[in-house]
Amino acid sequence: MSETADSESIATRIRAEVDRALQRNIKGLEYLGSSGPRLGATPRDLLHQRGTYALYRYRPLAEEIYRVPLLLVMAVTNRGYILDLVPGQSLVEFLLRQGYDVFMVDWNPPRPDEKTLRLEDYVLEFIPDAVRRVQQASGEQEVNLVGYCMGGVLSTLYAALHAGGPVQNLATFTTPIDFTGMKLFSSWADKRYFDVDRLVDAAGNAPPELIYASFDMLRPADKLAGTMQLIDKLWDDEYVKSYRMFDRWAGDILPLPGEFFRQTIKELMWENRLFNGQLKLGGRPVRLDRIKIPLLHAVAEHDHIVPYEASRPLVALAGSADKQELVLKGGHVSLVAGGNAIKRLWPRLDAWLGKRSI
C-alpha cells in the first residue's frame, strides 16, 4: 500500500516538473518574442516642457480630491515611470485613487547644450516653475512636495531655500544628505584618482553608460544572479512581468548634465557641503534647519545605493517640529515600487499626507 502511494507521489512530482519545464520553454520563447508590459500608462497631460524638464498632471481618479495638490519630483538619473509601473503597481495610480491631485516633474535626457545646467537651475528655476504651474493649475496656494532619491535632494534644497514658501508638506524617499555615507560611490569618486573635470570636459554630459555601470558595480553579482533566477521562474507569469518592468527601468538611465555632475561630485561628494551646511546655491546658503514644514523621510533598511548612513541626518538637521523618519524593510527601488512598497510605504505615505492635505 505504502509502495503504491510512494509511486503515485513520485509520478505526480515528475509530472509537475515536466509541466514546469515545458512552461519554461514556452514562456521563454514568449519572453524573447514580446516587448513586455506597457509602463507609465496612467493618463496624464503635459503641462510644460523645457529641455530636460517636463511637468505632467495626472488625471484624477477619485470623485473628490484633497485640497492641496501633490508634486512628485523624480530622480534626475532615472525615468519617472518607476512611480507609475502598471495598474495595481503604480504609486501614482494609488495616490490618484486615494484622492490626490498628482503632478510630476519628470526628466528628459538633457540635450548636449544643456551640459551647463547646475543644481541652481533645478532648485531655483525648474522646481519653482513647477510649483508655480501647479498652483496655477490647481488654483491652490499650497503644494505638497514628494521627492525620490536625487529628486528628494532637489526637493529638500528647494524647501530649505524657500522657507515660508508655498510648500506645505515635504516627503522624501531614500534621499542622501551625508554623502560620505555612500561608501562605494565615495571610494570610486576619490579625488586622488577621479578626474571629474576631464570627464565633463571630454563628454559634455555624464554618459548614461557610466552611471549605469556605477550602479551595477555596487552589487556586481546581481546581474548574473538575476538572470539565473529569471530562467528558473520563466513559468511564473507574474515574476516575469515584474522582472521585465524593473529590468527595463533599471537600464533606462539618463545622462546627467555635465556641470550638475561636476558640482555633485565636487560640492556634495568631495566636500560634503550639504551635510556640513556649506552649500550655497545662487549665492544663498542652504540651511536645512530652515525647513520648518512637516517632513516625512522614508528610508530603506537595505538600500545599497543610498545607505541609511547617508540619508539618516535629514530628520535631525531639519528645523521642522513635525518630522518623522520611516525606516522600512526593502531596498532603494523596492521601497517605492513593487509588492514591498504596496504593503509598506504607500499606505504610510497616504496616512501621513492625507490629514495634512486638507
Partner: protein, 150 residues
Amino acid sequence: MAERSMLDPFGLWAGLASQLEKVGNQAAQGSLNSAEFSALMNKALAGSMTARKALRAAMRRYLEVMNLPSRDDVTALGEQLRALEDRLVDVSAALDRLAPNGGAGGRTAVPIPPRTRKPPPEASADAPAASAPVAGKAAGPARKSRAGRS
C-alpha cells in the same frame, strides 16, 4: 514558497543563484571599496575619455574637410533653438497669466473633481511603529537587483 523538489534541477539552480548573489556581492565589496580598484577604474576611465576626445577632434577635422556640420555646430544650433524656445515659453507664460483659470497652463483633458476630500478616520493617526523597521519580506524581483537595483 513551496519546497523545491530534488527532481527539479532548477531547484539546485535557484539555490546556486541565491548563493551567488549573496557570496558574490559580499566578496566583491572588499575589492570594489579599495583604493587600488578606484585608481585602476579611474585610469581606465581617463584613458577612455582621452581616446574619446582624440576621436572627436579627428572627426571634427574630417567633417571640416567634407564640409559637413560638426557636433559643435549642431550644438550651437541647438543653443539658438533653445533660446527661441525660452522666449516662446516666456511669451506663453505671459499669456497664461493674462488668461482666466490659468490659460493653457491649467488645462487638462478631464474635469477636475471638487477639492473637498477629507482623510478617512483611520488615516488620522500615523501608522503604528512607523519609525521602527517593519518586519516582512519584500516580494518579487524588485529586491533582486539586476532588475530593480533593489
